[in-house]
Symmetry: C2
Subunit: 537 residues, 2 copies
């Protein structure tokens, strides 16, 4: 691997730093930049099914060119290509990173350690199709002969957030008579709430865990097994698993109704196009729609890999994110889709971005020297306008990704109010907000003044189709890895979650001991932890 020059010592980086100070001058306020009638043409791209408008970012042509030069110097497109070809870019875990292969339909092999991964991927897609078709046709039925009506996905983090996003986005297309529930939290109230809404006889449990050692998932799987037992149902007829080959969830001596494999070259937060998303989404929406979703993602992957830097949507978005993070010093970013079905986009991208890039050391183990990653949060517009946009307009500034959908899913409610349909009203707000944030407005009453100069991008898709949701997903995935490649961090590991796990294990052992022996005195050095243990027992 190349050992890149320290990021902050690059002349391009230093040029950007000096440009950043000039962007705070009054002349560079967005209200002035936006007077250029060609600004949208210069700072927008229509490609791979997405319209990406970055005209309200606090950049000019010179800064844009410097950002593109930085992308070239950090060879981030080359790294992306290496990634799709099976390079072990997950260095700390010595793994390939091949979520792109899971949605590859273009011919040709993808090699990992001398083996083509595509035959496995194609076979699993085929297995998913057959299984989902079997459930939908009634060929595969519950133990007592009924059709399956409820799917409970047991999985946490990357094993459900992406699926939750996609299934919510496409819920209008869910015509298979199947409801989807997510049992992610080890909180028994998550289990209890789902149990109150399903019938045991018509429920299929989908246990998703790469290692099959995730405590939360195993504890919930255990509850599901108990529940099946209490209802005299056989897990072999009501449970399927998505897991690594040979994991405890892929044990021939403990067979399931079906098992679908995932591989160590697919990280949890990048796994929604693998069997992790494929199994529940195909059951919920039908396999054909899942495949259309994959094809949209593939189109964006190809764009990310092949489009020149200055026409490359996720690459530009990544460089703007670095610019906002490290030069303009915005610590957070809002994701505001003007579409209710996209309500779970922010929680998914929150994980994707914050778990991937919430790091502080480079791939070489050196401090990065700048803050990586940022806080990603969001709610759909116009709801967000009536919630936290007060702060966006007059408090601490943060950049926003606005997301618009040209056509709504529901078209049979044509009533108008003030001369426009609800969908038009939604768009009136989506068109107004980025401009209000950018321009601001002066008022003699300081409480009614708006400083403006608050940056945003606007991303538009034509409709809530499976292809477009695949494109949107792959856009954010590519953006996330491009950012990491600029910073030279590894976006594919998550050692930051280990310490808490180790400490929880110690606490759990104390609890287990106390459960066995009520007279047990907790042996915990920290008095605060001991206090909590004692109040619980």
């Amino acid at each position: 691997m190349m050992s890149p020059q320290s990021l902050t010592s690059l002349p391009t980086w230093q040029s950007l730093e000096s440009r950043a100070t000039t962007m705070d001058l009054p002349d560079n306020h967005l209200k002035h930049l936006l007077t250029d009638p060609d600004r949208l043409r210069h700072f927008s791209i229509d490609a791979a099914g997405l319209f990406y408008d970055f005209s309200r970012q606090r950049i000019n042509r010179e800064i844009f060119n410097l950002l593109m030069a930085l992308a070239q110097q950090r060879q981030i497109k080359a790294k992306f290509k290496e990634m799709t070809r099976g390079a072990h870019l997950n260095l700390t875990e010595d793994r390939a990173v091949l979520h792109t292969a899971t949605r590859k339909f273009a011919p040709g092999p993808v090699m990992d350690q001398g083996e083509d991964v595509m035959p496995d991927i194609v076979r699993i897609r085929d297995d998913i199709r057959k299984f989902a078709d079997g459930v939908h046709s009634g060929q595969i039925r519950a133990e007592k002969g009924s059709m399956f009506k409820d799917i409970v996905v047991i999985g946490i983090g990357g094993s459900y957030l992406g699926t939750e996003f996609v299934s919510t986005a496409l819920s209008g297309l869910a015509d298979k008579g199947i409801s989807l529930h997510f049992l992610s939290n080890v909180d028994i109230d998550n289990f209890g709430n789902i149990a109150s809404r399903i019938l045991p006889e018509t429920t299929l449990w989908v246990i998703i865990s790469k290692s099959y050692t995730t405590t939360e998932t195993n504890a919930n799987a255990n509850q599901a097994y108990e529940y099946l037992k209490q209802h005299n149902l056989d897990p072999r007829k009501h449970v399927i698993t998505v897991t690594s080959k040979g994991s405890p969830g892929d044990d021939l001596s403990n067979p399931m109704l079906a098992t679908f494999h995932m591989f160590d070259y697919i990280g949890g937060r990048f796994s929604v196009t693998s069997a992790v998303g494929g199994v529940p989404l195909s059951l919920y929406l039908g396999y054909d729609r899942f495949e259309r979703f994959l094809k949209g993602a593939e189109e964006m992957d190809i764009h990310a890999e092949t489009a020149p830097e200055s026409e490359n949507i996720p690459l530009i978005a990544a460089l703007i994110s670095v610019w906002n993070n490290n030069f303009l010093n915005y610590p957070a970013c809002g994701l505001i889709p003007y579409s209710s079905p996209l309500s779970k986009l922010a929680p998914h991208i929150q994980q994707l971005s914050m778990e991937s890039n919430g790091k502080s050391v480079t791939t070489g183990g050196q401090p990065v020297g700048v803050d990586c990653g940022n806080i990603v949060f969001g709610e759909p517009g116009t709801n967000a306008q009536h919630s936290f946009f007060q702060l966006a307009h007059q408090g601490r500034a943060f950049p926003i990704d606005f997301i618009g959908v040209q056509k709504p899913h529901y078209t049979k409610f044509p009533a108008t109010y003030k001369g426009v349909t609800n969908h038009q009203e939604l768009w009136a707000n989506l068109i107004a907000q980025p401009q209000a944030l950018a321009l601001g407005s002066q008022h003699q009453n300081p409480a009614r003044s708006f400083p403006g100069n608050r940056p945003s991008s606007t991303i538009v898709i034509s409709e809530l189709s499976p292809e477009n949701i695949g494109r949107l997903l792959a856009f954010y995935e590519a953006k996330t890895v491009f950012e990491a490649f600029v910073w030279d961090i590894n976006p594919f590991d998550q050692f930051g979650v280990e310490l808490g796990k180790v400490m929880a294990t110690d606490i759990r052992k104390q609890m287990a001991e106390k459960n066995k022996n009520p007279g047990y005195q907790f042996d915990v050095p920290d008095p605060i932890q001991r206090y909590y243990l004692e109040t619980l027992f």
Copy 2:
């Protein structure tokens, strides 16, 4: 009103600034502060039904005393008392701020402009009780004679976020056979999705808008009227309103099944204990549970008003928030309840905090001089651990409020895994995470090192009872206003949302014109806005 000395020129403020720099010294790392065996005793309070542990905040006794001195100098408790007595602390709108009166059961009047507001409040509580009892008993029925089974709340921002939080938190108690739906977004897909899940004959629509001029709410109310008309149902039998006396929603010539009043002394984001929350929550949970919820909130109000500064939970939380915001420079705060039913706490507090305190000028119209408010976001734990906690541990630091519930709602699933119940596993994580964040851990591999020194508080309630949810709500409300009183900003207005509304009105007019006349050429000076308008038509 007093005209306080500029905040940053106060000697106490300046002392805090100098202490803040010392807190960055290695000796003041939390791992050292936490070796004091009495730290929890010194830095925790058990009062008003809440246990509040701030032992893992980056403070020491001296800083705590300075923060308490700041609270005294800013007279924030006196201001809180003035607020509950009807002072017009919403200066820009010249209004009293009396959400505390809506949960007052203690005897005595509350005067606003020479009139006692309590008789109206008591009467409305009584009206809500009668109406909810009537619906539950079947005395009040839908037009065709069926019981009401679905309630659709039409309202946005403060007209639904608090109700969504409380109803989700107490959903385990919802035994009235009624489902609650929130139609907040003007997005027609929000309406369409709800319409696909209800039966028109058994649905009651609750339209909530103080002014009855909120565009989103009126557009959705309009859709509901059309929907009723299509199904040959009379709005007078299927619609109720919560609105100001004499608003367009309280029009005797257009009578509803019922109308409940709200008052200008109750702001949207503080309104969940008024009829705004009272009507839907009483229908969903029964009026008695709503009243228990009010009584919990009242208990916290009394605590906030009467407890000495150094024993006052919301006051201390507010001062710590200011400390983290302005002295330790954390721009965001995470809210992580280890309880699935509290999943809507963060979206509600996000609005409450960011809309109240996302300001930049004082009540006197001067710049505050420091950043006010911060970004509030969160998801339930342990889910959050598998989502964005990587960044919390190894990326940009942000303080966290951990929230624990001693007893889960569901107690009939006793299966254990690794020797502990699911609820114990949840608590093992809740006990481990704050400590892992605080202590950190060194490793020879920098990618596996944890800097630690990341602050958090832990708030514990005994169970998901109506009283406790009331206490938790009132805690965050009081914390929010105490913060504002330190900064001397007005937390009760929201002029920051006006500019976007004005701009949306201009865009809407263009759209309405185009709807009337397809040949109309858009008359919008901004080329970017024109582009979006043209692509939509």
